[in-house]
């Protein structure tokens, strides 16, 4: 028999409330995700092509320019 949405909600709610070690782990997960997405991604890891070019045509032209510059290694 399928659980109702309310039963599912209660299942998760009671589960989270009964956590002990899990609370610490969730805090670590939350902190880690915050650092990764709100700090690192925003400040240091912008997508170069998304940020500097406005269309796929421009992006492909840029990459093609790089490929045809014959960059010495």
């Amino acid at each position: 028999m399928m659980a109702s949405p309310r039963q599912l909600f209660e299942f998760y709610r009671q589960g989270f409330r009964s956590m002990v070690l899990g609370r610490t782990l969730w805090k670590i997960v939350a902190l880690k995700l915050f650092l990764m997405f709100a700090v690192l991604k925003l400040l240091f890891f912008s997508n170069f092509l998304e940020k500097n070019f406005h269309s796929d045509a421009e992006r492909s032209a840029h990459v093609l320019d790089n490929l045809t510059k014959a960059v010495p290694r």
């Binding site: 070690l21 670590i28 960059v71």
Partner: protein, 509 residues
Amino acid sequence: MGNEILSTVNWSRAQFAMTAMYHWIFVPLTLGLSFLIAFFESIYVKTGDESWKKLTKFWMTLFGINFAIGVATGIIMEFQFGTNWSNYSWMVGDIFGAPLAVEGIFAFFLEATFFAVMFFGWERATKGFHLFSTWMVAFGSNLSAVWILVANGWMQNPTAMAFNPDKARFEMQNFFDVALSPTAVQKFTHTTGSAFLLSSLFVMGISGLFLLQKRHQLLAQRSMVVAAVLGLISSVFVAFNGDESAFHIAHRQPMKLAAMEGLYDGQEKAPIVLMGIINANKKPGDNLPAFHQEVKVPGMLSLLANRDFGSFVPGVNDLVYGNPERKIVGAQQRIASGKIAVAELTRYKNAKKSGDEVGAAQALALFNQHKDNLGYGYLNDPAEAVPPVALTFYAFHIMIALGSLFPIIFIAVLWFAYRGTLASHRWLSWVCFACLFLGYVASQAGWVVAEVGRQPWAIQGLLPVGVAGTAIAAASVKTTFFIFLTLFTALLIAEIGIMVKQIKIGPEA
């Protein structure tokens, strides 16, 4: 300018390597321990013995710690694709998009749904559904691994794609040919097999510690036996699968195999080097010996590479300079062909810009004749096609040596368990504890072989790492390298700290 680009590329490589190695500390334990937990719980459900439930919950706690600390560490590498490797990420976007999308949608949601039941549902779900959920977490975790390994397999052996010169992209021709390519299949099976092996060593290591401390001895012995069974099966599987991998590497990445064995001059009845000290001064084409010391077994490399004891295995020099007698096209020739490909791609681009359709068609026709060597066109010296031989050689041999040791340990555990004397052999408990760490060494060494051995290629033969990167300042990559180093080290210390605390508490928590 050239030095600045090289510095950026090298810092980008270092950053990716560092984040990948940290990520790979957490992942194999997730992949393998999830299955061990499923086995433990299956025994509990079958026997109804509550001590097996306690045992399962203990290992599940450690699994949860490892999962929570490790989750999303892989996303960092996707960030790097977009920032440090923009040329590469654009070019492979069509190939990687589908596998990674499937990973996110299918495997993650499967895992996340049943995760909650596994941890919250002991008293709320039926035994059968809880056990089913535990197995689903195991399968879901491993399914997550499939897709990233398909992507990596494609980098090693690009297949089922066509290069679109208008979009500067590799376009997938057939999803299933990419997903089921022999390289992708071997990558997945060897990697997950090694993860099961590592997880077995993890369980045996902590169980060994319990035996040494004379704590939770029944739990420890039971855990060791189940882990030793999975570990032994995994060892045999990984050995056979590794042999298959080497066979495919010999034909698809022969330079990698040559580096793995420090083979500079190809030969028939090529020997395997059991152990050796590489001559770090040796360069392609010189007369220096490849080794200071080595112990070799004749013919075994020929057997491994070609399944023919007397067959010819090309060495670094054959692959760099070519060997017409053996019909081997060397990097020297490929560079000449590749430079034509780059020149014609340039001509095509310029012709399209100026509206010269005839010129564009001519350039494209010539480009297509040489496109398989496109990546070589960016190298200036054939020796650039050689990966770091010493690092590849030592990593390969460390992996093999440890991989040969582990099944002996598993057999010893099973033998003494059968004799009923497992707890009394303290030396074996110490060995098991040591092998917990050695398992991680072997696991990392395997990835070093795979990724260092494919250098200089981001995509084998088609895109060297020097062209794959973004032209950004090296200083910014250096900065983020140290930020990641700090973040990941903190995470690792947190994981070890929390795990040690839980191990000290034991299954009574």
